[in-house]
Amino acid sequence: MTSDSDFELRNLSTVQCSINNHVGLIRIQGKDESNRINQLMVAELKEAISSFDDNPTVRAIVLSANGSNFSYGSALKGSYKGIDLHSYRISSHLANTRTITIASLHGKVLDQGLELALACDIRFAARETKFGLTNIKSGCMPWDGGTQRLTRLIGPSRALYMMLTGVTIDAMQALEYGLVSDITSELNDEELSLEFGKTVSNHGPIAVEYLKEAVNSGSDLNLEEGMRLELDLATLLHSTNDRAEGLLAFAEKRKPEFQGD
């Protein structure tokens, strides 16, 4: 087991990392309240995400932010001419993790900030959260996966409305659009996300990983191919001790204890 004490990510300056009850928490910490994402933050975020994703004790990752806003977007300003955006992109790195990722959102979630959230598996938001891909207002377009992920998540009609007008929408609307999975009531967004992360960490770890693969890879396939993928993954799970434990626990009417094997 990795404990917080031998955790090597303590010294990053733009992200704070901790692990508690199998849930890895990453908080982004920008220079000011706008929590803008600069090149250093991109590099450190990648490191933090990879480190958690490679750590078998981490069964869910919560991506949150310090301060009153999740993020206004990239720190890049003005013209993009001559800038290699490769080192500023982060969303695919996040989307390709085996671990379930949960975005914990509050305040402004704009541009690349929203693109980060879109790359997560689950999104929870505080009631007053505002969402937008406002790039068009500065003569630009989303460049960290937004045109693809937003369109797939909420459909081209709503996605184009957001991207062509640069409008910001509120949490209730985001919930209706299927952009967020839930909005907070009594808990704040981070508490809700951590609690959900804990729930995820109680599930069979291999099953969770295969579920993510089936859903994400399957959404690029037609239904027939997707069904085949699910069948193969479900059959692969037959050999796991976790599945046997799950069935035994069900028969014995108790909570299962999964080892991830």
Binding site: I100, R152, F196, V208, G218, N222, R228, E230, L231
Partner: protein, 242 residues
């Protein structure tokens, strides 16, 4: 035939499949799977049949999922895969090009929700509760749920349901808001409503019904040019019939 775990009936051009193990909330056993497979084959080859209503016997619910007790006595990987490929019920359910109507109530859990998600029209009683608790039990949905459920309600909400607590259930009202259900009625009106949809549908020509479903399902998740091409070809066939 002594096994009455499903009942297949036919009246004129409407068929129905009743899941009939109310003592265990219609939990799906291997033998039920085979019987449903046969029933769906009968439906798909019956040139007179134009709509199929699937519902569950008993007041407790539509279907509580796979029979996990039987599920536990599983065969080897290779054996299970072979069985599944020989009589791939869920593949068949997803590929049938005739209308399927789910009429659900009470518990609609796991495979019960997966069957519902693969139906084209979904009517629910007010009391229905929905859940997909497989990963909490250490496995994944295996009746197409990882594919059909996100397509029905969107990935954001589907992932939430897949990964939530095993006691985390969705009400009929919520399922309706998320687009899973097309209509909520009282339990007493459930079958009447479902069969009345079936009646309306069955007034149409079978070629037309099949063409619409084929275009929508086979064209889905393909480049739109291929989907439009499919639509054109199917429309030519429909034209010859009217």
């Amino acid at each position: 035939m002594t096994d009455k775990s499903i009942v297949y009936s036919k009246k004129n051009s409407i068929v129905s499949i009743k899941l009939n193990r109310p003592e265990s909330i219609n939990a799906i056993t291997q033998s039920m799977r085979d019987l449903i497979y046969d029933a769906l084959m009968a439906y798909s080859y019956d040139e007179e049949a134009k709509a199929c209503v699937i519902y569950g016997a008993g007041e407790k619910g539509f279907c509580s999922g796979a029979d996990l007790i039987e599920f536990g006595k599983s065969k080897s990987q290779a054996e299970s895969r072979k069985i599944r490929k020989q009589r791939d019920l869920w593949g068949l359910l997803s590929q049938i090009k005739k209308p399927l109507i789910a009429a659900v109530h009470g518990y609609v859990i796991g495979a019960g929700l997966e069957i519902t998600s693969l139906c084209d029209i979904r009517i629910s009683a007010e009391d229905a509760v929905f859940a997909m608790p497989e990963v909490a039990h250490g496995f994944i949905p295996g009746a197409g749920g990882t594919q059909s459920f996100p397509r029905a309600i969107g990935k954001t909400h589907a992932m939430r349901q897949f990964l939530g607590d095993r006691h985390d259930r969705m009400t009929a009202k919520r399922a309706y808001e998320l687009g899973l259900l097309h209509k909520i009625v009282s339990y007493d009106d459930l079958l009447k409503t479902a069969f009345s949809f079936a009646e309306d549908i069955s007034l149409n020509d079978l070629t037309l019904l099949t063409a619409i479903k084929t275009a929508a399902i086979d064209g889905w998740y393909k480049p739109i040019s291929i989907g439009l091409d499919l639509e054109n070809r199917l429309m030519e066939k429909v034209k010859l019939n009217n």
